[in-house]
């Protein structure tokens, strides 16, 4: 299968409804389709083996009076992605909903509805997703005329309408603040006795419009520093994904050494993220000893990250064109030494977890989803690989220096929470291998490649990065004022969270924390938090003195 064959097949089936195709880069293709045949074409792509990635809405009214929509599909086995591009007039922006066939598209469509004012007739759950319950109708934040710092007046007595409870169930409110959640989100869990029958999700409580901010206020090379703050864990993932998208749009080839350094950052992140999650998983099943030891082992990775990037959280490292710091021979030697002791500790840690039968009892058969349904919901990362779905963006859509490195992609057929833990444990060792290889094979050279000239407008670029939780997807459309015109982030949790109601179905309420925990949910990734205070619309800078006083008065 090649992108061209896909295009020919669509052309043969839908004839005139298929416009042109434009290759955006090798392995990246746009196919234009008439909105009336959008749903059929999307189904056709999924039938051909495409995995739904994300829907991106664009505001093109100033150019041609339309609102644009791109549904992205990845053909993982054949190493290419297709963007199914369509548009509808802004005064009548109706697009057939593809969610009834492709459930993973549900949130993308609801987001386009909230932020751009599109309509999706046939959507099974046309509720608000992103905007607040009291956000006024008719104001669509991502449209060009809406200022980034607009604060509409708050309204009283507006609340999210929960799904109707199935007969015989009661609602247990998990959230907005609950010990299982480490960030605000609301799961209404419908239980019959202790058995979960249904679950409704209301999130995006910390949504602060980071995409809008970056589309209107900052420049290309400032975005990475905001991008990496989308998430508290995978900073480099988001900045690398964004930078790669911009580099693809600009046709900029960066130095090989920078690509290797990016690999080191990304794999360090995977190490500490997986250790974090395995610890948290222990805590969620009431096993705090696992939690404490996982985080103790994790700490040395954080120190290593600080040595390499200057930050415990691999922040401030990646920019468009390369990276900001080189890895010196001394740091390399030190890193290899730390990796050696880390690996030794991980071996006994893994043995302790795999050998603990009580952990098996709490995780095996819990949150079970068969492989076909995992594919249907487009689950990502360890959540998918623990259910027999063999996908990994590092191998399927190679980026940075992964094409030159050898590593295994652990896949287990279990289909439950235990499977996802096994996969993560195995990936810890693969990450250590990858960092070692990257450090050994790293060629000499500069770490930063400056773009020769200003970036032309309206060039698209998109990139996938395998975050610890699964594939992160960034789409960038270059703009006029040295900043992206459209930047869309789809973190893996955005997709995996949509599968949560399915994973919870008919499980015990006591297993709710570990099932939710098993996708390693990152609500800030889905909410995309920015640094602007919503109430005042202004940033507030605390001095160190004030911070000290504040933290002391609260403790």
């Amino acid at each position: 299968m090649t992108p061209e064959k896909i295009f020919e097949a669509l052309k043969a089936e839908f004839g005139g409804a298929v416009g042109g195709s434009s290759p955006a880069a090798p392995g990246r293709l746009f196919i234009d389709i008439d909105p009336s045949r959008l749903r059929d074409a999307a189904n056709r792509l999924v039938g051909a083996g495409g995995r739904y990635q994300v829907g991106v809405g664009t505001d093109d009214r100033h150019r041609n009076g339309t609102l644009g929509l791109i549904h992205f599909f990845a053909f993982d086995g054949d190493h290419f992605t297709v963007g199914l591009r369509t548009a509808a007039p802004a005064d009548h922006p109706d697009f057939d909903s593809i969610t009834p066939d492709i459930p993973a598209a549900g949130w993308s469509e609801r987001e386009c509805r909230d932020l751009l004012g599109m309509n999706f007739p046939g959507h099974p759950k046309p509720k608000k997703l992103v905007t607040a319950d009291d956000w006024p109708d008719g104001i669509y934040p991502l449209r060009r005329e809406v200022p980034y710092n607009l604060i509409p007046p708050a309204a009283e007595d507006v609340a999210y309408q929960l799904d109707e409870a199935p007969p015989g169930t009661t609602i247990v409110p998990v959230g907005p603040f609950h010990a299982t959640l480490h960030e605000p989100a609301h799961f209404a869990v419908y239980v019959d006795g202790e058995t979960i029958k249904h679950c409704d999700y209301r999130g995006f409580m910390a949504h602060r419009g980071i995409e809008k901010l970056c589309q209107t206020q900052v420049s290309y090379n400032e975005v990475p520093f905001i991008a990496e703050r989308i998430c508290g864990i995978c900073g480099s993932v988001h900045s690398v994904a964004y930078c790669q998208a911009v580099e693809m749009a600009a046709g900029l080839a960066i130095s090989r050494r920078a690509e290797f350094i990016r690999v080191v950052c990304l794999e360090l992140e995977r190490l500490h993220s997986h250790l974090l999650l395995i610890g948290v998983a222990g805590h969620l099943i009431g096993y705090d000893t696992v939690f404490m030891h996982a985080w103790r082992i994790r700490e040395q990775v954080m120190w290593l990250a600080e040595k390499i990037t200057g930050n415990r959280k691999t922040y401030g490292m990646v920019i468009v064109g390369g990276v900001r710091r080189d890895i010196t021979p001394e740091i390399k030697t030190e890193t290899l030494a730390i990796l050696k002791s880390l690996e030794a500790e991980l071996v006994s840690f893994e043995k302790a977890i795999v050998g603990d039968t009580l952990i098996h009892r709490r995780t095996k058969g819990v949150g079970h989803v068969p492989r076909e349904e995992a594919v249907l919901w487009s689950l990502l990362g360890p959540t998918a690989r623990g259910r027999g779905v063999d996908i990994d963006a590092r191998r399927d859509h190679p980026y940075a220096a992964y094409d030159e490195l050898s590593f295994a992609v652990p896949v287990v057929p279990d289909g439950d929470v235990w499977g996802t833990i096994v996969v993560r444990l195995a990936e810890l060792f693969e990450s250590i291998k990858l960092i070692r290889q990257a450090l050994e094979r790293m060629p000499d050279g500069p770490v930063l490649t400056e773009a020769a000239e200003a970036l032309p407008a309206l060039r698209p670029g998109w990139s996938m990065v395998e975050a610890p939780r699964g594939e992160s997807f960034h789409y960038v459309l270059t703009g006029e004022e040295n900043r992206p015109e459209r930047w869309r982030v789809r973190a893996p949790t955005y997709t995996n969270l949509q599968g949560i109601p399915r994973m919870l179905q008919d499980n015990q309420f006591a297993d709710f924390p570990i099932i939710l925990g098993s996708i390693d949910p990152c609500f800030s990734c889905t909410d995309r938090v920015a640094v602007v205070d919503r109430r005042s619309g202004r940033g507030r800078v605390w001095s160190k003195k004030e911070m000290d006083r504040l933290s002391r008065s609260r403790s």
Binding site: H178, G286, Y287, D288, T289, V290, Q508
Partner: protein, 300 residues
């Protein structure tokens, strides 16, 4: 002297229960490679809670009464028992059934409080607490009944040590194992802290409680834990006696500290079970406890 013993028991338990809890926390921390709070932290916690505003979340008298009842019932248990091997004046009127009754009353108070609080998490916690009580109390009862069968008396001072006393037979050995396996459920620690389950039920039955009310519940739980440690020492280690009252108390306290070490180690090395898994486990324990009593009746 026999009039002093009930008061002495109550004072000793009130004074030492937080200390045992502190030991439990410190040991757990050590297993988890943490520093842990100082061993006297539970005293601070109780003082802090007692000094806080008394919020009446439910606004009904059962809600306010429940913690007092739980605390009072637990103290009553302590007043009756022959701590240090010496029975007080109350033992003359109260036998083993009263102890079981009072412990059930303390457990039921937790349920009343949770039901009066009318919180979804509290109600789920209460239903789990109820299941746990129904499944675990029989093991406690069987332990005392085994002693009663052996000496043909329900008197606590005689029955408790008799379960494994003079004739440490097959029945005593079996009951010892069953008691140890049920210990974590008695003291509501992992893997059986199911009713409180922090991450899912947010302390379950106690979710609506704060301040002094919560302090009473916490205090009652600490004393209850100490009681179950004492019961183990008294029933299964009756040979730990010197004959000197003060020395006997000291010996029993030291032995109880060892039981607490066990509780801490098992608690720190196990995840929490689900209630359905726990019920299957308890069912096996009940059958085994019944078998032990059966063996006791047969004189083994």
């Amino acid at each position: 002297m026999s009039y002093v013993i009930p008061f002495l028991n109550v004072i000793l338990f009130l004074l030492l229960a937080p200390l045992f809890d502190g030991v439990l926390r410190k040991l757990t921390a050590k297993v988890q490679s943490r520093q842990g709070p100082p061993v006297i932290q539970p005293y601070f916690d109780l003082f802090k809670l007692l000094g806080k505003e008394r919020l009446d979340a439910a606004g009904t008298w059962p809600f306010r009464l429940a913690p007092v009842l739980a605390f009072a019932a637990t103290l009553a248990v302590v007043a009756v028992i022959p701590f240090g091997g010496r029975a007080g004046v109350l033992a003359g009127w109260m036998d083993a059934t009263v102890v079981i009754y009072l412990l059930t009353l303390a457990g039921a108070s937790v349920l009343f409080g949770a039901l009066a609080g009318r919180n979804t998490f509290g109600l789920i916690g209460a239903s789990r607490e109820m299941i746990t009580m129904i499944m675990v109390e029989p093991v406690l009862a069987m332990t005392l009944i085994l002693g009663a069968v052996k000496i043909k008396s329900l008197s606590l001072a005689a029955a408790a040590p008799a379960a494994a006393g003079a004739a440490f037979g097959l029945s005593s050995a079996l009951m010892l194992v069953v008691y140890l396996l049920a210990l974590q459920a008695f003291v509501a620690r992992q893997p059986f802290d199911i009713a409180e389950a922090e991450v899912e039920l947010l302390e379950g039955p106690f979710i609506e409680y704060s301040g002094p009310h919560l302090a009473l519940f916490k205090y009652a739980i600490m004393i209850k834990r100490m009681f179950y440690a004492w019961l183990f020492v008294s029933v299964f280690l009756p040979f730990l006696r010197t004959g000197v009252y003060a020395l006997d108390i000291l010996v029993q306290l030291l032995a109880m500290a060892v039981v607490f070490v066990l509780i801490a180690l098992v608690g720190a090395t196990n995840p929490r079970l689900r209630i359905d898994q726990a019920v299957r486990y308890y069912a096996v324990l009940i059958v085994a406890a019944l078998a032990a009593v059966g063996l006791g009746v047969l004189g083994r």
